[in-house]
């Protein structure tokens, strides 16, 4: 059992207009076996949270903490975080020229496990995982993400998730740009990884449709760099019906609770 704990996280970026605070005190705790959905409108800071967990250099943590089983994640380099068991399925996977998928997957697996995988079983595992995600066999010969369609890139992200077996998976808008068939295939991949029982998932999404295939126990609504409402799966259903409009900009959590009370009352 592992715990990824985010406490009062404040994150800013440098822009031409100066420093801009994007996350304004985010707290979240995810445990092995749990699936948390973070939902929110565009620009609310969801992806910033994902990139900050992975250690993208663009994002400066000004205060707060992220720990993995008590270890300070913020003190780790990007590769150390991955080796500690944090995996980010990126919203825009990067094309890496000159590196074949085969070489990349094996090198990453070796780095994460601290030893090279046994060649025969590894090749078999890769092949099987690719088949399940309906990725063509010739992808292994191609360069990482180079010339892949948006949907293919997302499948390859989930392929890595299944092969690297992280303790925590952060899925940054993995559903965006996917058609229904691809969405199902990708969701099945996440569910398979989850079913192995050693992973916690943080699912970041704008839309509710992926939640038909991946069922979160916890839903957090993100607005303007803060969690403004939390609840169970029923919260996602409500968002599907009502959208994000009721979290008008500037509205604090307290106001919303009051509004909720009025509606329910």
């Amino acid at each position: 059992m592992s715990t990824l704990e985010i406490k009062d996280l404040h994150v800013s970026i440098e822009t031409e207009q100066g420093t801009k605070e994007i996350l304004k005190g985010v707290s979240l705790t995810i445990r092995t076996g749990e699936t948390h959905a973070i939902m929110g409108p565009n620009g609310s800071g969801k992806s910033t949270l994902a990139s900050t967990i992975a250690g993208h250099p663009r994002y400066n943590v000004t205060s707060g903490s992220i720990t993995l089983d008590g270890e300070d994640v913020l003190a780790m380099s990007v590769d150390e975080r991955a080796r500690a068991g944090v995996f980010l399925a990126m919203q825009y996977p990067v094309e890496v020229p000159g590196v074949s998928m085969t070489n990349f997957l094996r090198t990453a697996k070796t780095a994460i496990d601290g030893e090279a995988p046994k060649l025969r079983t590894w090749t078999k595992d890769v092949k099987a995982a690719m088949q399940k995600l309906r990725i063509d066999a010739d992808f292994t010969q191609r360069n990482v993400n180079e010339g892949f369609s948006g949907g293919e890139k997302k499948r390859v992200e989930i392929l890595q998730l299944e092969l690297f077996k992280p303790k925590f998976a952060v899925l940054d808008e993995t559903d965006s740009g996917l058609d229904v068939d691809a969405l199902k295939v990708v969701s099945e991949g996440v569910n398979r990884a989850h079913a192995e029982g050693n992973m916690g998932t943080l699912l970041i999404t704008h839309y509710t449709r992926i939640l038909r295939y991946i069922k979160p126990e916890f839903v957090h609504v993100f607005v303007d760099g803060q969690v403004v409402e939390e609840g169970g799966p029923e919260l996602a259903d409500r968002l599907e019906e009502e959208g994000y409009d009721r979290y008008a900009k500037g509205a604090g959590a307290a106001t919303i609770s009051a509004a909720d009370a009025a509606v329910q009352g």
Binding site: L88, P97, V99
Partner: protein
Amino acid sequence: MTAETVTEKARIGAPSIAGFTEEGEGLVAAKVDHGHNHGVTVMSSRAERLTSFNVADFPLPTGREEEWRFSPVRGLANLLSDTATDLDPAPAADFTVDAPEGYVRTPLAAGSAPRGTVLVPADRAAAVASANTEEALHVVIPADAEPAEPLRILVHGRGAGHRSNAHYVLEAGANSRSVVILEHTGAADHNGNLEVIVGEGAKLTVISVQLWEDDAKHLAQHDAQVGKDAVYKHIAVSLGGSIVRLNSNVRFSGEGAEAELLGLYFADAGQHLEHRSFVDHNVANCKSNVLYKGALQGKDAHTVWVGDVLIQKQALGTDSYEKNQNLILTDGCRADSVPNLEIETGLIEGAGHASSTGRFDDEHLFYLMARGIPEDVARRLVVRGFLNEIIQKINVPALEERLTEAVERELAASEN
């Protein structure tokens, strides 16, 4: 391509790429794929370029000339002057030839065939090399011979700034199979001409390796004539030297011939590595493939590739392709890449060209590191993978290994 699509002489040129730097998000590699810009550049045919044995026909370049416009001509004064090889206190370069008994013939004076039958100097450097080499090395691989080991010509410069001229004539007899390695180490101001005659049905690979020390300068013209059904492969590998400019040219003397011109270069801070290739499809039904790949790192690392392909009117059934790819590892580098394709007949199998220059940027690094791969491994992974496409075509395991190690050293140097 069919007669309908190309019926007139067309020059397909593309301007050099400038400014790879990407600001802001920088999520994607800077990539320029040249389209076919018919008629963008107006210039005479490549076939009309002056060739001559007379040094005086080539005035000292100013850097404004088409064939010198990318080169640091000011740094080339010694190489472009009509001077003999420095012999005092010792010759500027040592030459060692490693070939089976009887392959090395009596040296050839200027004007004694086959010297001068294939290579006629196309620029001042080649003309001064030719004029200042009284005795050209003459190596003949006999017909049907298949030497077990590669032949080697080792050129070792004895010190920077010392002028060295050379001319080698290499003949591959009919149906022979051989590999010749021309290797450059040490330092000198070296002008080297290589003249290659590939006999009917022969297979010859020439690998020119530039492992010079940092202060060497090297200008070279390598011309080959490929006979009927013969296969010629020329691989230029340039890692060392402050200025290297190597022109690899090929034409055909019989149908059914194939030429492959390959190159690999890795430029560090301040290094100028220039490769020019010219495939003259002067005979029908021949194939050519040109692929040069380069990596650049450090301030003012500069690489140039100019790839000319001319498909003459009579060269029906030609199949040609040329491509240049560059990988920019740091800021401050410049890669010029100019494919030129001239087609005088439409009755050909194919004629294509491509050029792309990608940046190895922080997003690549982030992606690989986010998969647990340490930074140094990530960098090596990218560069090694990129350059390996050329290295694996060398087919001389010991040399492949040496070059892989040399590339690793280049990379290691960047991390310090």
